[in-house]
Amino acid sequence: MFTKSIRWHFLLWLAFLLVCILGGFGATAYQLHRTNRFNQIDEDLQRRLAAVTGDVRGRPPFGERGDRRPFGERGAPGGRGERPPFGGPDEPPPFGPGAGRLPWRPPSSGLEMPSGFPDFRPRPREIRLSAQTLGQFDDTETNACYFAIWSREGTLLKSSTNAPLALAVPTRIGSDTQSHTRMREPVREAFHFTEMGECVLVGRSITADLNAMGRFALWLCGAGGAVLAFGLGGGWWLAARALQPVQDITLAASHISAGNLSKRINLADTHNELGHLAKVLNSTFARLEGAFAQQKQFTADASHELRTPLAVIISEAQTALSRQRSAAEYRETVETCLDTAQQMRRLTQSLLDLARLDAGQEHIQHVDFDLAEKTRACIGLIRPLADTGGVEIKCDLSPAPAVGDVDCLGQVITNLLTNAIHYNKDGGEIRVGTRTEEKTAVLTIADTGIGMGTDDLPHIFERFYRADKSRARSDGRSGLGLAICKAIVDAHGGTIEVSSEVGVGTSFTVRLPSARL
């Protein structure tokens, strides 16, 4: 299924990762930009706030005093905020200690002063701003700033012409004289309370900045989308490229079948991880091929070994029947046929034994017994054969407790003894020893026979292997004896080893577990 392919999964993960990275990056970039912009705005506001505050504290520069109304200044918030009850002169209050610093108090209602009398009641302080300060609030500018000044009681004393209608007096917390900023969409304002409790506020519209930030966010999204698309396309291509060797290996491996095991995966590039995989697969195929070849050889050998005696029997019988024969000739034919049939019977028995051992069907009993005793019994049975061959058997049998199937192991001992006699020289000897070594029962059977070369030694436990090709089959032996010995010993969890020297002799060592595991 396509959706289950590695490529698809890789792409999904890549998409997830890219979205996370790009999202994080975009959000951070936007946040930084926004913070930076607001800092700039705030700095600007603070600067203007400082200028206005300076004027409010009553140190307006001379020459500017009441001569003219600078642009943008209103004597009092005309028609907007609350008009002060006294449309007083431009002079600051001339009396009172700390004039200009006293808070302005609203007139008490019901205490109307008769006209014509000079009014000596404290009047709200007239705020005068220098032209330089007022120049900073040019409402023709885009992002023009505005200002507003409130008395301690919250009466609007002065504001710039471009101040928004919905001005709100900041609330004072405690007696702090720090400057603060606040956001009232779509304006940002900085305010400050003087020591006298007057509130100075400077603000500006940030609509344009917010729009710019929105555009920036959009741009980030667009760029992020493009990077994502490009990244995914690249990922798709990369995945295809990275998976190509896997496809090659799959294709090559699919061409290797039971009938065609000699093929191998082409190791054009063995330095990467997939090359390593291909190497491992190739070595597996090589082992498989070896096993197959061995099995094929075994089948061919078994077929050969069975067909040949069959050919003897058929051809003997057909020759005998082709014409009239004497009784002696018939007898000879029957004897040959019988001999050959017996040979076939031994061979089929051996093949069956091996097949059962291979399949693990041969039921191996685990019985405690003394290997020395069993060896002695086997020697007793085989001694007539040794006498016929003129071979002397010397024993050194120490008790060696072992666990296993007595009959099967008896077959091993008999096979090894028969071999030792068969390949011995006239007047030779066989040394048989048993002993116990580190929880194993050890049996050694050494002959003084013809021995074997180092070329043959690794193969002698192979089925139908014959060290001496010239003696092939003339002795009527199956060529399976040692293979069966090894299979039996293996089934017991033991080992069988051989050492040999041409002309000196051969020595077999069998090790069996001496106690139940």
């Binding site: 061919a300 077929s303 050969h304 070994e305 069975l306 067909r307 040949t308 005696p309 069959l310 050919a311 003897v312 029997i313 058929i314 051809s315 003997e316 057909q318 020759t319 082709s322 014409r323 040959t336 001999d339 050959t340 090709k469 010239s470 003696r471 092939a472 089959r473 003339s474």
Partner: protein
Amino acid sequence: MRVLVVEDEPRLLRNLAKALREEGYAVDTAEAGDDGLYKAENNCYDAIVLDLMLPRLDGWEVLDRLRKQKQTPVLMLTARDAHSDRVRGLDTGADDYLVKPFDLPELLARLRALIRRSVGQARSRIEIGDLLIEIRARSVTRAGEPVALTAREYAILEYLALHRGEVVTRTELYEHLFDESDDTLSNLLDVHVFGIRKKLGQQLIATRRGQGYCIEL
């Protein structure tokens, strides 16, 4: 006719040699590949029965080396019956292929056919005037009347008839009709030819002085 049997199973070898001798062949035997190759290279056989699995030198190798020198017909005899083995056997230069266990009559028939074909005689009967030689039955009739020949006489007549028109030297006759264990005295060949002439007439086999015998076309 003289054949070589190379087979490592002694009982089969003995039996094949016996059966072939009873068929009138002179038979040499070898149990190993190298022996077989040596004999095949140094004697003139009309056919070789060659087993594949042989000690020391296997059948493929024997056949391969033999084909570099001689075109003696070879009947391969083997217990390997895989299709690829048969193809390989025939491709290596074997003329025929029999899988063990084989039928003896079939082996004998194939051997006869091999020998016949190798001298350019496709049919199994040879007619010379009113004389008819049936190779399969090893019988000779003259004008419909059976003629009784001894095995040696028949063998000489068959050989000369198969090589009709050629002068066959005495040596060649010896080589092809007597196996290595035969210790026949040379004048016996004359005795056998004399016997044939007595039974089938003087004109059939001509003697070329100093060269040999010939049945003319």
